[in-house]
């Protein structure tokens, strides 16, 4: 099989050449720094290239949306990050932003407009769903037809923004079906990492949240736990390790599953 090298387009370079891409691909801090989630970023970038989507990333100019600061109560820091980002986006005349992190998505979509943002925000899950529905992404169930896949709803796509059906349609397009956990869609249990919990130890209790969630997963006994959020991915991957299920099941992001099914 032949391979083609991908140069990820950077906004500053394009702008210097007078080019304006259709989308800004907002990678997010986890997508840029978390070793596991970097693979998701790569998978999604491959899909964008495969589809010849006109996009660019901010690269070194990207910074935190401020979401974890806001949820941890540091409104000052959040707004400084937000206003800075809004200025940057305006400078590049960015109209559409794709995010692969539900936390970035939620903050951009619901909270930045209060501070003067005027760009459209699209979750990569919505984009994948759209491309599949429109027939631009031609996926088949060939690779995953005998694979049992469950989907863990991230709070910030699900309850926070009512995005339940898009990820399910995407998974069904490559696997035929989803093995749902008892608690799913709006009933889904949090992985335990939202609201800035990702960055601290949990308070005293009798169990870790991700292990409680992992037990939901074990009841379904899937081959793959599909996630759509970097924090959920950390928690689910840890959960699989804690429960000694590494031989039995794997955790993949929806973008990775699509890239795999396309053989990218």
């Amino acid at each position: 099989m032949e391979t083609r090298k991908i140069e990820v387009p950077v906004m500053a370079d394009l702008f210097a050449r007078g080019e304006k891409p259709e989308y800004l691909f907002w990678v997010g801090c986890a997508g840029a720094y978390d070793d596991r989630y970097k693979k998701v970023t790569r998978a999604f970038a491959k899909i964008l290239s495969y589809l010849n989507v006109s996009y660019a990333v901010l690269g070194k100019e990207e910074t935190c949306t401020g979401d974890p600061a806001r949820r941890a109560g540091n409104e000052m820091l959040f707004q400084m990050q937000a206003l800075q980002n809004i200025e940057l986006f305006k400078g590049y005349e960015i109209k559409k932003v794709i995010t692969i992190c539900p936390h970035c998505y939620n903050t951009f979509k619901n909270e930045y407009p209060d501070l003067g943002a005027e760009f459209e925000v699209i979750s990569y899950v919505q984009l994948l769903d759209k491309f599949i529905q429109e027939g631009k992404l031609k996926v088949t169930t060939e690779k995953f037809k005998n694979t049992r896949i469950t989907y863990h709803d991230p709070c910030y796509l699900g309850r926070a923004n009512d995005i339940y059906d898009e990820p399910r349609r995407v998974i069904k397009s490559i696997a035929g079906d989803i093995a749902e956990m008892d608690r799913h869609k709006s009933f889904a249990l949090c992985c335990g990492a939202g609201g800035a919990q990702m960055f601290k130890e949990a308070e005293k209790g009798n169990k870790e949240v991700f292990l409680e969630r992992m037990e939901d997963v074990l009841k379904v006994d899937p081959d793959i736990v599909a996630t759509a959020c970097p924090f959920c991915m950390t928690m689910m991957t840890d959960g699989i390790k804690y429960k000694n299920q590494e031989e039995r099941m794997k955790n993949f992001d929806i973008a990775e599953l699509i890239a795999m099914s396309l053989g990218l």
Partner: protein, 439 residues
């Protein structure tokens, strides 16, 4: 005539006490902070129809939700009969609304059926509460008084329903004995007329009057106890749903006072443009009851302590101290404690206590994952996470208090634009040697 006078006095006493209670509560609202403006009335009306009258969120627990819906819909229909009883009592009339004909007959018949359905539901609720160990009725915030409160209200509703059926049965019996035609049919109570077997027409009428008085007086007592109990939600939940937050659950409210400061920091020129105001400096976030918005307080008064929020809270499920129900109950209790003293001694009144710490500990506040399961579950659209984050805002911005790792995360964002300690220079490392297979 005597009945009319006695009734009028009872009614005005009831309304008087009720008015006094409500006026007191409204004054507490004057202490609270500005929340969102109430716009989009049409949309709100639809939400009210769906969630309050349609009981859609209560049906997230289909079985027990069904019984609650029976009680709610029953109350709505039976309310019509209660209004008729007030008119009858005031103007010494008999079945004053019967002129409505078929519509009246329909409501009376269904009111009678629902009286039984409500009674059955209430018995099920009582059995659940007294004999079954239901986890969500327990918790650190559930004191003995909370259980007494619940069971007392349920018992009163049961008495209301039994007296209603007794009243209907005696009415039917009396009509039968005097050979008159009843104004409506009572599909359930007409089978209960045996209770009055052997009674004369006069005696049956007396029984009818006794049940009539028990029922209406119980309604009056119930109405006046409600505002002092968790069952205040009978009045508050429909308006609370009407006043729902309309934004997506994921959205946190922007702090406009912070925006002003940040803009000044980022653009020093703006300092000259900003008009000086004499407005007192507002506290950042929520430290005490009066820092909460009117909507937070409304939420707390509407909460009926059902515990659906706490039962789905990931922190609570895994044994942490946080309980979203407790947050609401604490706000209500704190306002009850501090509100009257603030009204008397002025806003600056300080009793050396506060909602944060004396009621809600930092440990509870930092355990929240902002997953919004509580808000999604609440049958009457209470929003707990926004209040929890507002209390975190107070801790962080007024006191600089946060867990060490959270402070480190703040520092990282400030210094290198990411919650972790990585350099912005490394942001594109993921894109290195990226290749795609070409078929």
């Amino acid at each position: 005539m005597t009945k009319q006078i006695v009734f009028a006095i009872t009614l005005f006493l009831t309304l008087g006490i009720f008015g006094f209670t409500i006026a007191r509560i409204i004054r507490f609202f004057s202490l609270t902070r500005k929340g969102f403006p109430v716009k989009h009335l049409g949309k709100r009306f639809m939400i009210m129809l769906k969630i309050a009258f349609g009981q859609t969120k209560i049906f997230r627990r289909p079985v027990i939700g069904f019984f609650h819906a029976m009680v709610f819909w029953g109350f709505c229909i039976i309310l019509f009969g209660s209004i008729e009883m007030v008119i009858d009592g005031l103007f010494n009339m008999e079945k004053s609304l019967s002129f409505l004909g078929g519509f009246y007959k329909f409501l009376m018949a269904f009111g009678d059926i629902f009286a039984l359905l409500v009674a059955i539901s209430i018995v099920i609720f009582l059995i659940r509460r007294i004999f079954l160990h239901i986890k969500r009725f327990e918790g650190i915030e559930m004191k003995e008084i909370s259980h007494i409160d619940a069971n007392a209200a349920l018992t009163m509703i049961l008495i209301l329903m039994l007296s209603l059926m007794g009243m209907n049965a005696a009415y039917v019996r009396h009509a039968f004995l005097t050979g008159t035609v009843t104004q409506a049919t009572y599909p359930i109570s007409e089978h209960l007329t045996g209770l009055f077997a052997g009674m004369s027409a006069d005696k049956a009428f007396t029984m009818y009057q006794i049940f009539w008085w028990i029922h209406i007086v119980m309604i009056f007592i119930f109405a006046n106890i409600l505002p002092y109990s968790k069952h205040f939600h009978v009045f508050m939940s429909i308006p609370n749903v009407f006043l729902s937050r309309l934004e997506p659950l994921g959205k946190l409210t922007n702090m406009d006072n912070v925006t002003k400061e940040v803009k000044l920091m980022m653009d020093p020129n703006a300092a000259f443009e900003a008009p000086a105001t004499d407005a007192p400096i507002e506290r950042f976030g929520v430290k005490d009851a009066e820092d909460a918005t009117w909507k937070n307080y409304f939420d707390s008064l509407s909460c009926t302590e059902c515990g659906r929020c706490t039962s789905v809270c990931p922190a609570n499920i895994t044994g942490k101290r946080l309980s979203p129900r407790k947050v609401m109950m604490d706000l209500r209790a704190r306002m009850k404690e501090k509100g009257p003293k603030m009204l008397k001694n002025g806003r600056d009144f300080d009793d050396g206590k506060s909602l944060v710490r004396d009621y809600i500990t930092e440990e509870e506040l930092w355990a929240c994952t902002t997953c919004n399961a509580c808000a999604k579950e609440c049958p009457i659209d209470i929003n707990h996470p926004s209040l929890i984050v507002d209390m975190r805002r107070y801790l962080v911005m007024e006191e600089g208090s946060a867990p060490g790792e959270i402070k480190a995360m703040f520092n990282n964002i400030e210094n290198n634009g990411a919650p972790w300690q990585y350099s912005p220079e490394d942001r594109l490392l993921w894109a290195k040697d990226l290749e795609i297979n070409v078929q």
